[in-house]
C-alpha cells in the first residue's frame, strides 16, 4: 500500500509544482503569490514523501521498556515540514505586504511594465535618472 501511495503523492507533487511554476512565470504579482503558495505546499509534500509513508506506530517507548517497539514512524520529516510551514507563512505575509506596497507605489502588478530600477535602453539614461532621483530634476540633462 505504502509504495502505491508514494507514487501517487509523487505525481501530485509534480502536478502542483508544474502549476505553481506556470503561475509564477505569468508575470503578474497576484498570480505569483498563488504560485508561491502552491510551490510551498508541493515542497512540503515532497519532504513528507521523502520521509517514506508506512503504517507504523508512534515513536513512543512503553513504560516498562527501554527501546520503542518496531516498526516506528519517522517524526523528523514532520518536524522539518512544520519549520518550513512556519517560515513559509512568514515569507508569504511579507510578500503580500511588499506586493501591496509595490502596487500602491508603482500602480501596476505587471512585472513587464516595472522598469524603474532597470530602464530600457531606448528610454535613454535620462529616463533612468528621473526614476532614480525624482527630487533632483536639475540633473536630468547631459548624461
Amino acid at each position: 500500500m505504502g509504495v502505491d501511495m508514494e507514487t501517487a503523492l509523487a505525481f501530485i507533487c509534480g502536478i502542483i509544482a508544474a502549476a505553481s511554476i506556470y503561475l509564477m512565470l505569468s508575470g503578474n504579482l497576484i498570480r505569483f503569490i498563488f504560485g508561491l503558495v502552491l510551490a510551498t505546499n508541493a515542497v512540503n509534500l515532497l519532504i513528507f514523501v521523502s520521509g517514506r509513508l508506512s503504517q507504523t506506530q508512534p515513536p513512543l517507548i512503553a513504560k516498562d521498556a527501554v527501546v520503542p517497539t518496531e516498526p516506528l514512524a519517522n517524526a523528523l520529516p514532520q518536524a522539518l515540514i512544520l519549520t518550513a510551514i512556519v517560515i513559509g507563512f512568514a515569507l508569504l505575509t511579507f510578500v503580500f505586504i511588499l506586493f501591496y506596497r509595490t502596487y500602491q507605489s508603482l500602480g501596476t502588478v505587471d512585472t513587464e511594465s516595472m522598469r524603474i530600477a532597470e530602464p530600457r535602453e531606448d528610454d535613454g539614461e535620462d529616463a533612468a535618472n528621473s526614476g532614480v532621483n525624482p527630487d533632483k530634476p536639475q540633473q536630468q540633462e547631459g548624461a
Binding site: 522539518l80 511588499l98 524603474i116
Partner: protein, 498 residues
C-alpha cells in the same frame, strides 16, 4: 566544549532586540549598534584565533550528540568568513551613521542589519543542512526588509524581483534537502559525507546535487542565474548596498564550496565540470555587462557577478591550490567590494550623483577620496601589489597546474576587462573636469563626512595590508583548503570526539 562558536550568532541577535527597544531614539540605536558590532568583531576575532591555534571548534547545541542534534562547527573556512563578516558589519554600521536618516532608523534599520549579520554568521557556522536553510531564511528576511527600507519606487521594483527569485531559490534548496534526506536519512553535513557513499542510486543523487547547485547558484549569482542581482543592488541606500554586495552572494558561494567539497564529491567530473563552464561564462558575462553601464553602482553590481565567477572557478578546479585561491579571493573580494560601494556613496555625497556622466573633477576637489577609490578599485582589477593581484595569481597558477588553459586565459582576460571598467570610473568621476551643467551643485562646499571616511579608510587599509603582506592570509587560506580537500578532518571533528 566551549560556547564560543555560538557567540557570533547570538550577539547580533541580542543587539537587534535591544535596538528594537530603542526604536524611537535614533542616536541611542546608533551607539548600541556600533558598540554591538565592535563586540561582535572582538568575539569573531577570539573564535578566529582559537581555531587558528587549536584547530576546528565544534559545539553540539543542547548537548544532543552529533548526527541527531544541531552541530555548530568553526573550521578555517568558516572562521575566515565570520571574521570578514564582522569587519564588514562594523564598517557598514560606522558608515550608516553618516547616511541613514532617522526615518529609516525608526523603521528598524539597525534591527534588520544585526539580524542580517546573525543570519550570515549562523549560515557560516552551522554543520547541519536544515539549520543552514533556516539561517538562509533569517538572512533573506532581513535583506528583504533592508532592500525596501527607503520606500523609493525603484526599491520596490528591484525588491520585488529580488524577493521573487530568492524565494524560488529557497524552495529549490528545501526540495533538495527533502530529496537528500529521503536518500540518506540524515541532514548533518559530516554524516552526509559518509552517507552519500552508500546511496544505491547515483543518478538521483546527481540530480539532487544539481538542485543544490541551482539553488546556491541563484544566491551566488552565477551564470545564467544572476539576473536578479543587477536589478536590485543599486536601489537601496549605499550602506545597505554595501553590506548586501559584500555578504549575501558570498554566503551562496560558501554554501556551494561547503557542499561540493564535503557532500557532493562522488561524481566530480560531472558536477565540477559543470561548475567550471559556469564559472568561466559567469566571469565573462559579468565583466562585459559592467562595461555597458555608466552608473557607479550598476557597474559595481555587475563586477560582483564576474568576481563570483573567480571563486566558483577555484571550487571547480578542485585542487588544494585552487581552493586556497578561492578562499583567498573571497576574503579579498568581500572587503574590496563592500568598500567600493561605500566609496560610491562618498562620491555621491561630495558631487551629487551616481551617474558617471554627471560626476567629474573629484581628483581636484577631493584627492583623498580619489586615493581611497584607487586602492580597492585597482585591487579588484588585480594590480600588483594589491590584494586582488595575489588572489588572481593563485587562481591562474592553479589553472595552469592542471592544464586548464582556457580557464587561466579567461581569468587573465577578465582581469584586464575589469581594469577597463575601473579606469572608466576613474577617468569619468575623478579625472575629467566637472561637467558644466552640474554647477548648481556646489562641490567646493561639500566635505566628506568623517563617518564615511573612517570605515572606508579602514577597509582600504586592510586591502593594503593583505596586498603588502599576503603570506599570513594565504597561509590561513591554504589551511582552509587543506581541510576542504580532506573532508575526514571535518567529519572527525563533528562525529569523532563526542
Amino acid at each position: 566544549m566551549s560556547a564560543l562558536p555560538v557567540l557570533p550568532v547570538i550577539l547580533p541577535l541580542k543587539v537587534a532586540a535591544i535596538t528594537l527597544w530603542f526604536r524611537n531614539a535614533p542616536d541611542k540605536q546608533h551607539r548600541i549598534s556600533l558598540a554591538g558590532s565592535f563586540l561582535h568583531l572582538g568575539v569573531c576575532a577570539m573564535l578566529f584565533i582559537r581555531v587558528v591555534q587549536d584547530g576546528i571548534q565544534t559545539m553540539q547545541v543542547g548537548k544532543w550528540p552529533a548526527p541527531f542534534g544541531i552541530t555548530l562547527i568553526a573550521d578555517h573556512l568558516s572562521v575566515i568568513m565570520v571574521m570578514v563578516t564582522a569587519v564588514l558589519g562594523f564598517a557598514v554600521i560606522l558608515y550608516s551613521r553618516a547616511e541613514i536618516g532617522s526615518r529609516m532608523l525608526k523603521s528598524g534599520y539597525h534591527t534588520l542589519m544585526n539580524i542580517l549579520l546573525a543570519g550570515v554568521c549562523g549560515a557560516f557556522l552551522t554543520g547541519d543542512l536544515f539549520n543552514l536553510y533556516v539561517w538562509f531564511e533569517v538572512m533573506l528576511m532581513a535583506s528583504f526588509g533592508l532592500l525596501v527600507l527607503g520606500r523609493e519606487k525603484q526599491q520596490f521594483d528591484g525588491g520585488v524581483k529580488y524577493v521573487m527569485i530568492n524565494l524560488f531559490s529557497t524552495l529549490l534548496f528545501i526540495s533538495g534537502i527533502g530529496l537528500l534526506y529521503g536518500l540518506t536519512g540524515t541532514l548533518n553535513m559530516a554524516d552526509l559525507h559518509l552517507a552519500v557513499q552508500e546511496v544505491q542510486n547515483p543518478a538521483v543523487l546527481t540530480a539532487t546535487a544539481a538542485i543544490f547547485m541551482t539553488a546556491f547558484g541563484i544566491k551566488a549569482g552565477i551564470f545564467p542565474l544572476f539576473f536578479w542581482l543587477p536589478v536590485s543592488y543599486h536601489t537601496p541606500p549605499v550602506a545597505i548596498s554595501a553590506i548586501l554586495a559584500g555578504l549575501l552572494t558570498k554566503v551562496g558561494v560558501y554554501a556551494m564550496i561547503r557542499l561540493f567539497s564535503l557532500v557532493f564529491i562522488f561524481n566530480i567530473s560531472y558536477t565540477h565540470g559543470l561548475l567550471l563552464i559556469s564559472a568561466v561564462v559567469t566571469m565573462l558575462t559579468g565583466v562585459l555587462g559592467a562595461a555597458a553601464y555608466n552608473e557607479f553602482r550598476r557597474i559595481l553590481s555587475f563586477h560582483i557577478i564576474s568576481q563570483v565567477g573567480y571563486m566558483i572557478l577555484g571550487l571547480a578546479l578542485f585542487t588544494p591550490l585552487a581552493l586556497a585561491g578561492a578562499v583567498f579571493y573571497i576574503l579579498h573580494h568581500m572587503i574590496v567590494k563592500a568598500n567600493l560601494f561605500l566609496i560610491s556613496g562618498l562620491a555621491e555625497r561630495v558631487s551629487g550623483s551616481f551617474e558617471l556622466g554627471k560626476l567629474g573633477g573629484l581628483y581636484r576637489s577631493n584627492w583623498f577620496v580619489a586615493l581611497l577609490f584607487f586602492i580597492p578599485a585597482f585591487s579588484l582589477a588585480g594590480f600588483p601589489p594589491l590584494s586582488g593581484f595575489w588572489a588572481k595569481l593563485v587562481l591562474v597558477r592553479a589553472s595552469l597546474e592542471i592544464q586548464a588553459y582556457g580557464a587561466a586565459a579567461a581569468a587573465v582576460i577578465v582581469g584586464l576587462l575589469t581594469t577597463y571598467s575601473m579606469t572608466k570610473i576613474w577617468g569619468e568621476a575623478f579625472w575629467k573636469p566637472r561637467p558644466p551643467d552640474s554647477d548648481n551643485f556646489d562641490v567646493e562646499k561639500k566635505h566628506p563626512d568623517i563617518w564615511m571616511l573612517l570605515p572606508i579608510s579602514m577597509l582600504a587599509g586592510l586591502t593594503l595590508i593583505i596586498g603588502l603582506v599576503p603570506a599570513p592570509f594565504l597561509a590561513v587560506a591554504e589551511q582552509a583548503a587543506h581541510e576542504l580537500t580532506h573532508p575526514e578532518i571535518y567529519v572527525n571533528a563533528v562525529l569523532g570526539g563526542k
